[in-house]
């Protein structure tokens, strides 16, 4: 689903009359995303950001044929927003809220899995296929079509990497912010087959951080699937404090679980190149893929 998104994919924005919803619907449209409508609980709202507003997802999907949704809902209301979208037949949903309760996220994950849909988030700036579509709010200044697929737990750290690649004349094929939460939708491991099968993608950048086991999971899958395309990894949090979440709920080290050492070792063993600084990973990407500069 992710790899086939394009400028033609019809998208709705849930919560489009809110401050964030209105702003980002307009910015996504300006980027070229086919925003076809939005939903709002405000009874008087008929139009926002230049698209029609509906009172619920079902009406919006029936009227517009939308298959994707960006849910601009507060964290405690995200579960209900996703359930509404799935019931309306939405196939891919991006939830941007930071701080979705963990047990709500389990319910979201189960509902999405049951529906056979795709969930990106929470706590993510979203995803983009530069030149085609942007779901969420990855800054335009970072986006440039090119050969690198990016998957990242952190928004800002991926902006930094994407921006420097773009400055160096390289760009991105598919960019997915998997988000910094512990329980989430698409994980690193789910994206490997997407990136391996995508003809635009020549190499992969993984921006990880301490906590959880996604990087280790991804390393195991790399061994299983084979390193079909080069993978460069940047892992943040070497100096993090144990026992407390470093901003992202999922960035929590307890004992030996979730440490930088464990992630670095497993990814390296699987054939990935792991870096501890932004400059080092970008230099390696640029040096090794000079011929792809456009």
């Amino acid at each position: 689903m992710i790899g086939s998104l394009s400028r033609n994919t019809p998208v709705i924005v849930q919560g489009i009359t809110g401050r964030m919803g209105r702003t980002h619907a307009a910015l996504m449209r300006a980027y070229g995303t086919n925003i076809v409508g939005g939903t709002s609980t405000r009874a008087d709202a008929k139009e926002a950001a230049g698209v029609p507003v509906f009172s619920n997802c079902r009406d919006a999907v029936l009227a517009t044929g939308a298959v994707a949704s960006v849910a601009m809902a507060p964290p405690l209301e995200t579960l209900a927003a996703v359930e509404e979208a799935l019931a309306a037949g939405i196939r891919i949903i991006v939830t941007v809220a930071e701080g979705i309760p963990l047990h709500d996220a389990i319910r979201i994950g189960r509902a999405v899995r049951r529906a056979g849909a795709t969930w990106i988030g929470g706590s993510t700036p979203g995803m983009a296929i530069p030149g085609e579509i942007k779901l969420g709010f990855i800054p335009d200044v970072c986006l440039r079509p090119g050969p690198f697929a990016i998957m990242s737990k952190s928004g800002t750290l991926s902006y930094e990497c994407g921006y420097r690649l773009a400055q160096a004349g390289l760009g991105h094929s598919i960019w997915v912010g998997v988000g910094g939460d512990q329980v989430k939708g698409v994980r690193f491991v789910d994206l490997l087959p997407v990136f391996f099968g995508d003809p635009r993608t020549h190499a992969i950048i993984l921006v990880g951080e301490i906590g959880g086991s996604e990087e280790e999971e991804c390393a195991d899958a790399l061994i299983r699937l084979g390193l079909c395309k080069p993978l460069y990894a940047l892992i943040a949090g070497r100096e993090a404090k144990e026992g407390v979440s470093m901003g992202h709920a999922g960035a929590l080290v307890l004992g030996e679980a979730g440490t930088l050492a464990s992630k670095t070792q497993r990814l390296t063993k699987a054939g990935a190149r792991v870096f501890g600084s932004i400059e080092a990973i970008i230099d390696a990407c640029v040096q090794n893929h000079l011929s792809l500069r456009a």
């Binding site: 899995r113 921006v207 404090k241 026992g243």
Partner: protein, 373 residues
């Protein structure tokens, strides 16, 4: 966020899991000890691996207890100041391991049980786990399978402890509830330790958990700050030299790593969330207040990658924040890139010319290194 053992045990007891009788000590006058000896003295810091780090002592006499408390209090354990010890009657029995946790990849709960409890459980690989849907009945079924080969005399006690633990995890929306060791005998089960990880995302609807955190402003300083201020600030090193005013969790973590790799000592982690500042310099002032409270501060690094935020507006808030922070007397380097960067540079040049402004992160890091030298 990890709760200290004493708070974890309070929640366990509320959900029907037996815990040893204990008292808290915050100074050398230990008062009446619970029951007969021997006793366990345990430093109350929210980290794992306390035993190996010297934060747990088994004591035969009240004199030993007093000595252990005195030794631990005021010291540091894995980065945390020890200001409270838990003193308990030592428990006898066979040691087991029991845990229930949120399984992120499986969208369910994982129940883990091992016939070998103890400090090396993570390494021993003897723990068996079962993934199940997130409700108490499913946990009970999973646990029943895991303990099937245990002696019948106390199997029902373990099942009851598991029931209480599942109830606690689900009702209080925890990420992890672990008992290691769980002392078992035909008379019942007692939790020797409690490792509970709470979800701050659910705190608005978990008043009991919120009350535990609010009751300990020292031990849970970082969490209390987050709940009160609405953004993330974690003190990494009270003797740190570089204060961070940054937005974005991942980039802030990375900057800490980058500074440390260059031989500098970062003071704090910070995700100030410029998007939520809504025209108020309050957050900038709060962070400047906290970092300038440390005598060791030598420089401040501001870093904002503005996708949505207007840097011109941020520059005004930063300038106002600096004006309102008379304690700030060290150099500041501001790395501002993205929307409105040129205007931000002009504003700061006019209002706070001493601030070094750049769009280039590597240059900002070099500059910080230079002013610290």
């Amino acid at each position: 966020m990890l709760l200290i053992e004493a708070d974890g045990k309070a929640l366990l007891a509320e959900h029907g899991v037996a815990v040893p009788e204990g008292v808290m000590a915050t100074d050398a006058s230990i008062g009446d000890l619970p029951g007969e000896g021997p006793w366990m003295v345990k430093a109350q810091v929210p980290v794992g691996g306390r035993g190996k780090a010297g934060g747990v002592a088994r004591c035969q006499s009240p004199q030993d207890v007093a000595a252990a408390v005195q030794r631990m209090l005021g010291g540091r354990l894995k980065g945390y100041q020890v200001d409270t010890c838990l003193i308990e009657q030592a428990v006898a029995g066979e040691e087991r391991y029991l845990a229930i946790m949120v399984d992120a990849a499986g969208y369910g709960l994982r129940v883990i049980y091992s016939a070998q409890g103890g400090v090396d459980i993570e390494r021993s690989g003897s723990a068996q786990g079962r993934l199940c849907p997130p409700h108490a009945g499913a946990v009970a079924e999973a646990l029943a399978e895991l303990i099937a080969s245990e002696p019948e005399a106390w199997r029902r006690h373990v099942a009851a402890a598991g029931h209480g633990l599942a109830d606690l995890l689900i009702e209080r929306e925890l990420a992890l509830a672990e008992i290691n060791p769980l002392f078992v005998s035909p008379d019942g089960c007692i939790a020797g330790d409690a490792k509970l990880v709470v979800d701050l995302g659910a705190i608005e609807r978990q008043p009991r958990v919120a009350a535990l955190i609010e009751a300990r402003p020292q031990i849970y300083a970082d969490a209390n700050r987050k709940l009160i201020e609405g953004f993330d600030y974690v003190e990494i090193d009270p003797d740190g030299e570089i204060g961070l005013v940054t937005t974005g969790a991942g980039l802030s973590m990375m900057l800490i790593d980058e500074l440390a790799a260059r031989g500098m000592k970062p003071l704090n982690f910070c995700d100030i969330r410029t998007g939520q500042m809504r025209g108020s310099p309050a957050r900038v002032m709060r962070v400047l207040e906290w970092i300038t409270a440390r005598q060791s501060l030598r420089a401040v690094l501001v870093s904002v990658f503005a996708g949505i935020t207007d840097l011109a507006e941020f520059a005004h808030l930063l300038a106002t924040g600096i004006e309102q922070s008379p304690r700030l007397r060290v150099p500041m380097v501001a790395r501002l890139v993205g929307r409105g960067a040129a205007e931000a540079r002009r504003i700061l040049a006019e209002r706070q010319p001493a601030v070094f402004v750049t769009e280039d992160l590597e240059e900002a890091l070099r500059r910080i290194q230079a002013v610290c030298r």
